[in-house]
């Protein structure tokens, strides 16, 4: 905890100044001009290992073996992408996009009233476009660059994806093209803010939402992703020997789900409840859409979780297994809870349970064995179930589609369970030293994430409120956002 406190001011300062000062200054200067001297490995047509001198037969075979085992090849041979690993990461990146478009859009879209379904789709689409632009210009570099040599922000060397070509960036993957890796990570950066939409669905102005997301990416997502996954990240327990907090997060329990979930809670407090909340019924308008979205999220999540190995290796294989077990069991457990406590297992219950299972296994999937995955599956249903059906009504906030209950609570639960259930038999990157203090580190990481997300969200939301206002007029909200914000109706018969 000492380490944590020591770094807190730095964190805050980094968050604000790096964003507001460094970024705009350093970027226009160097990025859009095409590199005059491209890395020679950068001609991706020749992804083959181009021998520096003439490597020995021993080294050439060792390089091929390194491809099979997803390990570093010999120094004599320049790193190049390998087809099996690249094949999987191309697929995984497409799968993670599929989670948002149309997966999450449908999952959320089905849960709102008919008059607001298009607004949810437009939010997902708009976030996709906005985040892609930010990622291209600054985001990827701020997260995965290292020129700042900073625990909170990466660097400026990849601004405008400058130099990001088909050669691997061996800081993150031995055998996967960096351009694919950058796009894979973009898909994470897209879905995270899109998750927040669920908390304030049906009542936030489109322009306010987009401005909120713009700021949120710089203040929350980019620093958090660097802290956890960046080679010099503050909480990057495995790859950074100097990490302030030696936490682990396989596929984004803190970076994706805790940030979005806790931000969602704060934002829905600041935005306030929907008109008619608790006075009139606001049932989902189309549960079939929600179920389609759930299926797509589940399938796409294999790209998210197994893809986070950044290779088609045994760790990806383990992540696939643990994801499947935890998700199916969480879905089933949720339905059993409903059956026992309320008499009927519902489709919405199954779907919510599946998503909760996916969320909770996310940080753990590359670290736990089948038994661990099954335990997580059960816990992933029980805790969010009560968060959503007891705690939320008791506290009375209007987390419209349960982003907090599922992603906030679930992400936190996942980060903690990972601390308890991770085993080096599954993932040999987990050294004994790391494991010894792991649970404490996970608690620290949870606290950092929680504080950063909530504070930053509160600040951004209040600023946006002052500039644009957060909500449409009552009349507009009553008529529905589809017509007022987008000039369209979803269904015309």
């Amino acid at each position: 905890m000492r380490k944590l406190l020591k770094h807190l001011p730095g964190l805050a300062v980094a968050g604000f100044t790096a964003t507001l000062l460094l970024v705009p200054l350093s970027s226009p200067a160097q990025a859009p001009t095409p590199s005059p001297t491209p890395m020679t490995a950068g001609t991706p047509a020749a992804t083959a290992a181009a021998p520096a001198a003439s490597p020995s037969m021993e080294d050439r075979v060792a390089n091929l073996e390194a491809y099979l085992s997803n390990s570093a090849g010999p120094k004599t041979i320049q790193p190049a992408s390998g087809p099996g690993h690249n094949a999987w990461m191309l697929t995984a990146a497409a799968l993670v996009l599929f989670m948002t478009l149309p997966g999450l859009a449908l999952f959320y879209g089905g849960l709102v009233r008919q008059k607001n379904v298009l607004s949810v789709l437009a939010q997902c689409l708009g976030i996709t476009g906005l985040v892609t632009i930010l990622w291209w210009a600054f985001g990827y570099s701020l997260v995965f660059g290292k020129s700042f040599n900073n625990p909170f922000f990466g660097g400026s060397e990849f601004f405008f994806l400058h130099g990001v070509d088909s050669a691997p960036n061996t800081d993150y993957a031995y055998w996967v093209s960096q351009n694919v890796y950058s796009m894979y990570q973009l898909m994470f950066a897209i879905i995270t803010p899109a998750l927040i939409v669920g908390a304030i669905a049906e009542r936030m102005k489109y322009s306010a939402l987009m401005l909120f997301m713009l700021c949120w990416m710089f203040l929350v997502y980019f620093p958090m992703a660097h802290m956890i996954w960046g080679i010099s990240g503050f909480m990057s327990g495995i790859s950074n020997a100097n990490a302030g907090i030696k936490a682990i997060d396989f596929a984004g329990g803190t970076v994706v789900h805790m940030t979005s979930g806790w931000s969602a809670l704060i934002l829905c407090f600041i935005v306030g409840p929907r008109l008619g909340f608790k006075r009139e019924p606001i049932p989902p308008h189309n549960l079939v859409l929600t179920m389609i979205g759930t299926g797509m999220l589940w399938v796409g999540w294999y790209g998210f979780n197994a893809g986070s190995a950044v290779a088609a290796d045994g760790i990806a294989a383990n992540a696939f297994m643990s994801t499947t077990l935890a998700t199916a069991i969480a879905a089933f457990t949720w339905a059993v809870l409903e059956k026992v406590l309320r008499g009927k297992a519902s489709v919405l219950g199954y779907c919510t349970g599946a998503v909760a299972g996916l969320v909770v296994i996310t940080p753990a999937c590359g670290f736990v064995n089948p038994t661990g995955a099954v335990i997580i599956g059960v816990v992933a249903a029980v805790v969010p179930y009560f968060a959503v059906s007891v705690m939320k009504p008791a506290l009375g906030y209007d987390d419209a589609l349960d982003t907090f209950g599922v992603h906030g609570i679930g992400g936190t639960l996942g980060a903690l369970s990972t601390g308890l259930l991770a085993t080096k038999e599954v993932n040999s990157n987990l050294k004994d030293e790391l494991l010894r203090t792991l649970f404490l580190s996970q608690i620290e990481a949870v606290c950092v994430t929680l504080v950063l997300s909530t504070v930053a969200t509160a600040v951004i939301a209040l600023v946006v409120k002052a500039i644009l206002g957060l909500r449409p007029s009552a009349d507009t909200e009553t008529a529905g956002l589809d017509i007022s914000d987008h000039g369209e109706e979803a269904y015309i018969s």
């Binding site: 049932p283 989902p284 519902s346 919405l348 919510t352 959503v388 059906s389 009504p393």
Partner: protein, 112 residues
């Protein structure tokens, strides 16, 4: 002329339609409506929220017919639509002052 308006259970539509056809009634207009009455609705639960659905799906059948047909038609409808359980619905009879067939401009009983 009168209009008979019957609010019935949806799955009785075919039977009522046939009962009216048997009387030689060749035209009717049907609307999907929601009914509120003695028949109780059900409860739906969505995560934390529980809603009571009071309004049940019903079918409204409207038939305009000559005065002399009213009794036989209401009897036929009542018979066909009855299940004896609560929620079977109602038949209402309204006065009609005029009817016109758009295609031919015929008016009155010839129009129906």
């Amino acid at each position: 002329m009168k209009k008979i308006e019957a609010i019935i259970k949806p799955f009785k539509l075919e039977e009522v339609k046939e009962a009216l056809s048997d009387l030689g009634i060749e035209g009717m207009t049907v609307t999907e409506v929601k009914g509120f009455g003695r028949q109780k609705g059900h409860t739906e639960i969505y995560r934390g929220s529980e809603y009571t659905v009071d309004f049940l799906p019903k079918i409204k059948i409207e038939v305009v017919l000559a005065d002399g047909m009213v009794d036989s038609a209401t009897t036929a409808v009542v018979k066909a639509a009855k299940t004896g359980k609560i929620g079977d619905g109602k038949v209402f009879v309204y006065p009609i002052e005029e009817a016109i067939r758009i295609r031919t401009d015929e008016t009155g009983e010839k129009a129906i």
